[in-house]
C-alpha cells in the first residue's frame, strides 16, 4: 500500500465518460442562456487558442530518474516526454456577459503514451462588472500559478518549480462553482470563493475530495500584487484491503494516526513586485493534514527576473520541506515496516537553484534554457527515484501560444 500522491497519479485515471457528460450539460445550458438573452444585440464569437511546449531535458546522474506524479521521467539521456505538452482552448463568447470555456491538455503519462484531459470546461457569467460566476470544471486554484501552470509561455521558467507544482496530475481539476467579486476601490482588490468536488474511480479504487472549499484574496496596487488563499479538502480514498491495513496500523501502541481518509488544508501566499525592468515573485504553500499517511509540507519559491527587450533572464530558488518524518516506534513487525515505509516515501526534501533565460522569438514563439542545481537533504531522494547528494538538470524548451 502506498498512499502518496505519486501512486495516486499512477493508479487512477479520469472517468472517460465524465468530460462528455459535463460538456453536453454545459453546452445545453449555454444554448439555453444564449436563447434567453435574445443574443443581446451581439453576435456569438468563438476564439480558438492553443499553447504548448517541446522540451528536451537531461540530468547528470547516470541510472537515476527524475520522476513526476504521472511517472514520466528525466534521465541522463536527452528526453522529451517529461515536460512536453500541448493545450487547446475554445472560448465561446456568447455575449458581453456569458462565455463558455473548454480547455484540453495533452501530455505523456506513466507509460509515455499520449493522454488527454479536459482541464477546464465551464460557463462564465458576468453578473456585473464586480461579480463573475463560473460553473463547471476548472483547475482548482490552490496555488498562485495553478490555473496557468501548464501554460509555460506565461511564466519565466521552463517548468514551474517542481517543489511546488507537480508537472502533471490527474488531481488538479475539480467540478463546482467559483465566484469572483471585485471590490470598488482604487486598488484592484478581488475576493474569490470556490466550492467543488473531485471524484476519480478505477475498478475497485476510488478517490473523492468533496466539498473542496476555498477562499482567495487578490490585491494589486501598481507595482505590488499579492494573493492569500486558504482551502480545505476532505479526502475519501478507498482501495482494496484499505480497511484492514488501517486496522493494523491504528492500534493503541501506535504513536500516530494512519488513515487514508483525511482532511487536507492548503495555505498559499503569493507576492509579486514589478518595477520595470525588474520583477520578483514569492510563492509559498503550506499543506497540512490531520494524520501520518500524507505529507505535511512547506514549499517556497522566489524568482527574480529582468525584462530586457526580447530576453528575460531569471534566477529562481525553491525549497520543499516535509515535516512529518519522525520514525514510528510504537508498532511491531509488518505494521512497523508499513508505517515507516509510508514515512520513508515522504523523504523528498530538496532545494533547487535555477538559472535561465527566455527569448521571445516573436509574438507566438519563445525559446527557454534553464539549468537546475538541485541539493537534497541528507537521506532524501527529492523528486528522484533514489537517494543522492545533488543533481543538475539541463532543459531547453520551445514554447508557443496562439
Amino acid at each position: 500500500m502506498n498512499f502518496n500522491r505519486c501512486s495516486l497519479g499512477r493508479t487512477l485515471s479520469a472517468n472517460w465518460f465524465e468530460p462528455i457528460r459535463i460538456s453536453f450539460t454545459l453546452f445545453m445550458m449555454t444554448a439555453h442562456a444564449a436563447h434567453a438573452a435574445h443574443a443581446d444585440d451581439s453576435a456569438a464569437d468563438i476564439h480558438v487558442n492553443g499553447f504548448g511546449n517541446l522540451t528536451a531535458a537531461f540530468h547528470d546522474q547516470p541510472g537515476a530518474r527524475f520522476i513526476n506524479n504521472l511517472g514520466s521521467f528525466i534521465d541522463d539521456q536527452v528526453g522529451y516526454h517529461y515536460d512536453s505538452k500541448a493545450g487547446f482552448q475554445v472560448n465561446w463568447v456568447v455575449n458581453d456577459r456569458l462565455n463558455l470555456v473548454m480547455q484540453s491538455l495533452t501530455a505523456t503519462d506513466v507509460q509515455s503514451s499520449i493522454d488527454t484531459d479536459i482541464k477546464n470546461l465551464y460557463l462564465q457569467y458576468l453578473v456585473s462588472d464586480q461579480l463573475s460566476l463560473r460553473v463547471g470544471r476548472f483547475i482548482t486554484p490552490l496555488y498562485k500559478f495553478s490555473e496557468q501552470q501548464y501554460v509555460t509561455f506565461s511564466q519565466p521558467w521552463v517548468r514551474p518549480p517542481v517543489e511546488l507544482y507537480p508537472s502533471a496530475s490527474d488531481f488538479d481539476f475539480s467540478d463546482g462553482v467559483w465566484l469572483k467579486y471585485r471590490l470598488n476601490s482604487r486598488q484592484y482588490t478581488e475576493w474569490e470563493f470556490f466550492v467543488s468536488q473531485l471524484r476519480q474511480d478505477e475498478s475497485d479504487i476510488s478517490f473523492e475530495a468533496q466539498p473542496i472549499l476555498g477562499t482567495i484574496l487578490n490585491r494589486s496596487d501598481g507595482a505590488l500584487a499579492y494573493r492569500l488563499m486558504v482551502a480545505r479538502a476532505p479526502i475519501d480514498f478507498d482501495l482494496p484491503g484499505g480497511d484492514q491495513l488501517e486496522a493494523i496500523l491504528n492500534v493503541p501502541s501506535a504513536e500516530r494516526r494512519y488513515y487514508a481518509d483525511s482532511i487536507q488544508w492548503f495555505y498559499n501566499v503569493g507576492i509579486q513586485y514589478q518595477h520595470y525592468p525588474w520583477s520578483i515573485v514569492v510563492d509559498a504553500i503550506y499543506q497540512d493534514t490531520d494524520n501520518y499517511v500524507y505529507a505535511r509540507s512547506l514549499s517556497t519559491n522566489v524568482t527574480l527576473s529582468y525584462q530586457a527587450e526580447r530576453v528575460t533572464p531569471y534566477l529562481s530558488w525553491s525549497n520543499r520541506h516535509n515535516y512529518n518524518l519522525a520514525e514510528e516506534n510504537g508498532l511491531q513487525g509488518a505494521a512497523s515496516l508499513l508505517a515507516n515505509q509510508l514515512i520513508e516515501n515522504r523523504k523528498t526534501n530538496q532545494t533547487t537553484l535555477a538559472v535561465g533565460a527566455r527569448w521571445g522569438i516573436n509574438e507566438y514563439f519563445a525559446l527557454k534554457a534553464q539549468l537546475d542545481f538541485i541539493e537534497f537533504t541528507p537521506g532524501h531522494r527529492g523528486d528522484f527515484d533514489r537517494v543522492m547528494d545533488n543533481a543538475q538538470v539541463t532543459s531547453l524548451s520551445l514554447e508557443w501560444f496562439f
Binding site: 476564439h47 487558442n49 458581453d96 470555456v101 462588472d129 520595470y276 525592468p277 527574480l304 526580447r310 501560444f401
Partner: protein, 159 residues
C-alpha cells in the same frame, strides 16, 4: 565541508550566469521617445477615467468600466514603438512579458488582449464609438481635433 564547497560553487555559478545574462541583455536597451503618450477618447465621449492605475487595470483586463460604471472598450496600436512603450510605462511590462501576461489571461478564460489599430483606424474607431479609449503621442493628438485628451499622460521611464 566538501558538500558545502560544492553547494557554494553552484550558487556562485548560477549567480554569475544570471549577472552575465542581465548585463548582456541590458546593453541592448530600448529607445524611447521624449514625446509623451496621452490617453484619448472621442470629443463626444463622456467616459471618466481618473488615474494611471485605472488605465493600467483597463489595459490588463482587470477592469471593464469607467468611474461611472460605463463599459469601456480599450484599443491598442499596431505601431510597435508606441505600443511597446505604452505597455512599459503603463503596465510595467516589456514586450515579451506583455505577451506572456496575456497568454495567462486568455488561458484562464479571464479576458482577451486589446485589439491593435493603426492611428487612422483608431481615430475612426474612437469617433464611431464614444465608449472607446486609446492612446496616441502628444504630437499626434495636436493634429486631431476629433479626439479628447483624458489628461492622463505617460512619460518615458528611466531604466
Amino acid at each position: 565541508m566538501a558538500l558545502y564547497a560544492t553547494k557554494h560553487a553552484k550558487v556562485k555559478s548560477a549567480a554569475w550566469i544570471f549577472c552575465w545574462l542581465v548585463f548582456g541583455c541590458s546593453s541592448s536597451a530600448h529607445s524611447e521617445s521624449l514625446d509623451p503618450i496621452v490617453m484619448v477618447s472621442s470629443t463626444n465621449s463622456n467616459l471618466k477615467v481618473t488615474s494611471h492605475e485605472h488605465v493600467r487595470q483597463l489595459y490588463l483586463g482587470l477592469r471593464r468600466t469607467d468611474s461611472n460604471n460605463l463599459l469601456v472598450t480599450q484599443w491598442s496600436r499596431k505601431e510597435q514603438e508606441i505600443r511597446e512603450e505604452f505597455y512599459r510605462v503603463c503596465c510595467n511590462l516589456g514586450p515579451v512579458e506583455f505577451r506572456a501576461y496575456w497568454s495567462k489571461q486568455v488561458f484562464t478564460g479571464a479576458s482577451r488582449p486589446p485589439k491593435a489599430l493603426s492611428l487612422d483606424e483608431l481615430v475612426m474607431q474612437l469617433v464611431d464609438d464614444p465608449t472607446s479609449i486609446g492612446f496616441v503621442r502628444r504630437s499626434e493628438l495636436n493634429d486631431e481635433p476629433r479626439l479628447r485628451d483624458l489628461e492622463l499622460d505617460f512619460h518615458p521611464i528611466d531604466g
